[in-house]
Symmetry: C2
Subunit: 289 residues, 2 copies
């Protein structure tokens, strides 16, 4: 448990009537200092509480990318939703090779728990998101505690799918923008995952939404997904078709996917900013029910 | 005149149904290679032409800041306006000291014509914006030629005011976000201006909107201005009050200022993105009349 005194506000900017803040804190799960962004919508009354949307970012990102490039604050203000944007990995852990390549280590946005030395001391992003940060947000901000949803972009989409499939009922709704859906079959993403959890195929599959979704046994879940036809990672790394096919095999038809393939769009924040409003509409409808 | 073959598209991303592009070209006015962003709204028919809004950025910016941080593409698509976002200064000109400080030389966003050696060979941003780039956009893009407006942020707001006050009727409408209005009285901005045009008070005043506005003698002009109460440059460097007072002295009441002081907002793109929609509404109403 992280006490209130242990988080420090490092920036605070008025935006669309609310405030875009960034906090810093020492993470017990990750054993390093972490930052996260949090947008607080405008209040109409004192002690007003809001639902929460976690937004997990993708490879090479920090908490800043979505804060500065997605334009989401307009919709967070309009739909009155707190948005939490964590950083994408531990940083400055002095692990040999942590900064050598873009898809392994720092910034590789693997929302899993590492088992391999020396990564396992720090790379516990799954526990960080679903337990430590989840609880910290509830303890420190004006949150409606049973109205928490999750979304993400690219490897952050992978994270959003993982966190919701592995914790049935914890998140009221889940969506993803250009998510990596079948990481154990992706030539770009698999090396980063193997670095953290080893080569065992069965363990690799336990962190892969396409395998998890078949065995999902929680409340019915509708998942909104957007991806662009010109996304350079679509065919070899995101593998969304595999996930949709597997979801259709889930028993009792518990997973329903609303899938939008968007003509001419790529993988960048030009794509995210164009469709983020749809994701706020989606989550708002689920969070208000 | 710059022929079509001389501009080169260096990036192109679909955004809100249109395309955010960046071009590179050799500028004759500046004697160096320049980039500019251009957003082309979605077309409903072939050969559709659009009005244009020039957006001039401020100190330390390139063409990228407004493209990635302002979220304007949504409104450019909605109001069907081409948005041109030039870089803020010449670059890589090998002038001694050009990169030494943030408020002189590269990126200092002085939209004036330098007279001082060695700057005068390159720093002719006023001519670049109002003649060379203005003409290049008309020659190369689907533009309604008599529907061109201008806006800007900070020193880009200074530029927007200058370009419209010095060219009565050239721009259908003008607005500014946190504009530097009285540069010859600003301790932060004056050194950069003096570097380019020298110490002569009369010449300095010729590039200062607060002096120019008193003698404006063109078509009636309404100017929309937003600024935040927590803008760290408001009191010593923007000096908007001086401009508003001087505008009220303009003969025949030809300049009308619609001034919005926004509680709690700062100078950054959190401020710009919050109010940019108001500027699109304003320009759209003027451009459609």
């Amino acid at each position: 448990m992280v006490a209130e005194s242990e988080i420090k506000c490092v920036s605070n900017n008025k935006s669309f009537g609310g405030y875009q803040k960034v906090y810093e804190h020492f993470s017990n799960a990750l054993q390093c200092t972490m930052k996260f962004g949090i947008y607080i919508p405008p209040s109409e009354q004192e002690d007003e509480k809001f639902p929460v949307l976690f937004y997990l970012s993708g490879l090479t990102c920090t908490e800043q990318n979505v804060i500065t490039k997605a334009g989401f604050q307009k919709y967070a203000a309009q739909y009155k939703i707190i948005v939490v944007a964590p950083d994408t990995s531990p940083r400055n852990c002095n692990i040999p090779g942590e900064n050598d390549t873009w898809n392994i280590g720092t910034g590789a946005s693997m929302y899993v728990n590492a088992t391999q030395e020396p990564w396992n001391k720090h790379y516990q992003m799954y526990t960080y998101i679903t337990e430590e940060l989840f609880q910290l947000i509830q303890n420190n901000f004006p949150v409606i505690k049973d109205k928490i949803s999750i979304t993400g972009h690219s490897m952050g989409g992978h994270g959003a799918l993982l966190c919701s499939l592995l914790n049935p009922g914890k998140f009221k709704s889940v969506s993803a923008l250009a998510p990596a859906c079948n990481i154990s079959n992706s030539p770009t993403l698999l090396p980063g995952l193997k670095t953290l959890i080893g080569e065992d195929k069965e363990i690799l599959e336990k962190w892969d939404p396409t395998f998890l979704v078949k065995y999902y046994d929680g409340p019915e879940m509708q998942i909104l997904i957007h991806v662009g036809t010109d996304d350079e990672f679509l065919k070899e790394d995101l593998l969304i078709d595999n996930f949709v096919k597997a979801a259709n095999e889930c028993k009792d038809n518990k997973i329903k996917i609303e899938f939008h393939l968007e003509e001419g769009h790529g993988h960048s924040y030009y794509f995210v900013s164009t469709f983020i409003e749809e994701h706020f509409k989606f989550h708002s409808s689920k969070l208000s029910s």
